[in-house]
């Protein structure tokens, strides 16, 4: 993957995705390695995302790289009206790889066209966030021992949740069965369902979360945002129907794990946290290993 930008999850083949997960395992076993000593990683966050930025910066630091960048557009020359083209070309003079987050969709693809150094997309608007997908895959493989032939439930906002769309695309390569739990207004978009069908896989739609819990290996929770509803009364009606409480997990398989891309608001009750099935904080930790694997692999040191 040397020098290969990662903009969309589809930029990497199934084999390349697995290769990143394998590398990440090595970093989990030995997180501190001085293999990027002398390298400079730029983190350009044109919109704030503290969690993602810190995860990348932690990954770079543990490998001995120096980190430069900005955490919001207002503290960069963007606020003076500089074009994205100029920002990328300038920063590429100072760094070996650019990690970027930008509110506009397509910004990372454009940056990868103009940049002489590789780009890692850390989220472009509502479009892609491929490192989240890879860390989700890593978490699934780690907790289930495999990626193939799993029963996976997605719960909550399946319409706008880009993590759900990207992970669905990725798992289409691994013979997954998809259980889709959402209010009517927030069902999975038809182009994503078509992708499942194109791969000759099955999906099942539900409005009640309790039905799927005993059937699945992974329960992937997402946040339902009030502003997604055209009718506020509809929001009030459904908001409590998609909250996971500990007692609901009684009938679940022992090996089942609950994932969430975080931040959570109220869709997982705190009483779930001590349950061994709750995996969302380890999931976030896995993000560091996956990002270490990406940085090292794209910079060509392993």
């Amino acid at each position: 993957m040397k020098h290969k930008s990662l903009v969309s999850i589809d930029d990497y083949s199934k084999e390349e995705q697995i290769q990143i997960l394998d590398l990440a395992e090595g970093f989990e076993a030995k997180p501190v390695q001085n293999i990027l000593n002398g390298y400079v990683v730029a983190t350009l966050f044109f919109e704030p995302s503290t969690r993602t930025r810190l995860s990348f910066e932690s990954a770079a630091s543990r490998l001995g790289a120096q980190v430069i960048g900005f955490s919001e557009a207002s503290s960069s020359s963007v606020s003076k009206g500089e074009s994205l083209n100029d920002t990328i070309l300038t920063v590429s003079n100072y760094s070996d790889i650019i990690v970027m987050r930008h509110p506009r969709e397509g910004s990372a693809r454009y940056a990868s066209e103009v940049s002489p150094v590789p780009i890692i997309n850390a989220g472009d608007g509502a479009n892609q966030h491929p490192t989240q997908t890879l860390l989700d895959m890593y978490s699934i493989r780690k907790t289930q021992g495999r990626l193939d032939n799993l029963q996976i439930a997605f719960v909550g906002d399946l319409k706008y949740g880009r993590t759900v769309h990207s992970l669905t695309f990725a798992l289409c390569n691994f013979n997954a069965a998809f259980h889709l739990v959402s209010p009517e207004e927030l069902k999975l978009p038809s182009y994503v369902k078509r992708k499942i069908k194109d791969n000759k896989l099955d999906y099942f739609q539900y409005t009640d979360m309790n039905e799927v819990i005993p059937q699945v290996d992974i329960l992937y929770m997402t946040r339902i945002q009030k502003e997604r509803f055209s009718d506020p009364i509809e929001y009030e009606r459904v908001k409590n129907a998609y909250v996971l409480r500990n007692e609901m997990l009684q009938g679940a398989k022992k090996s089942m794990r609950v994932l969430h891309p975080l931040p959570r608001v109220n869709e997982i009750e705190k009483d779930v946290d001590p349950n061994p099935m709750a995996y969302y904080f380890q999931q976030a930790q896995n993000g560091v290993y996956v990002r270490q694997a990406l940085l090292a692999s794209i910079l060509g040191v392993c």
Partner: protein, 155 residues
């Protein structure tokens, strides 16, 4: 009687060498002129619109002297004039005649319908993969959203 019929008057003068684009929907004539950059063309450009057409009722036609287009260049007009016929003239003779075809990729001209796409906020040439030619669907290579014929807008 027969002789009179063959002497039909040309509504747009013939050209010696060049390209004729026939069967353009009348409303698209000026868009085609723009797409092919003929506004700045130094050669003779003749055009007519709302001409009678047996096949289409009304049609537009453009004749441009001494210009010959590459397929990729001319095919983009299929977006606004799918019925157009391309005729290459040399020495007043038709040497090639074919229908335009929607190309696999479209550069420039079309705006991405996604208001949050980077191409609508920075000076970036739009690029689309044509993922459906029948029911026109253009996938933006940047934001990955699909612009369909109902929200097709030209820059």
């Amino acid at each position: 009687m027969e002789e009179v019929k063959t002497r039909t008057e040309l509504q747009v003068s013939a050209i010696e060498n060049g390209t004729v684009i026939d069967h353009i929907p009348p409303k698209s004539v000026f868009q085609v002129v723009k797409m092919l950059g003929m506004e700045n063309c130094k050669e003779q450009v003749l055009f007519g619109t709302n001409l009678e057409s047996k096949k289409y009722g009304r049609k537009g036609i453009i004749k441009v002297a001494n210009l010959f287009f590459q397929s990729d260049e001319i095919n983009k007009i299929a977006l606004v004039a799918p019925s157009a016929t391309l005729i290459v003239i040399r020495n007043y003779q038709v040497v090639e005649k074919r229908k335009v075809e929607i190309p696999d990729q479209i550069f420039r001209f079309v705006r991405c319908f996604n208001p949050n796409c980077i191409t609508n906020h920075e000076k970036i040439t739009t690029k689309f993969n044509v993922i459906d030619k029948e029911d026109l669907k253009l996938e933006c290579i940047y934001c990955e959203k699909v612009t369909g014929k109902n929200n097709l807008e030209f820059i």
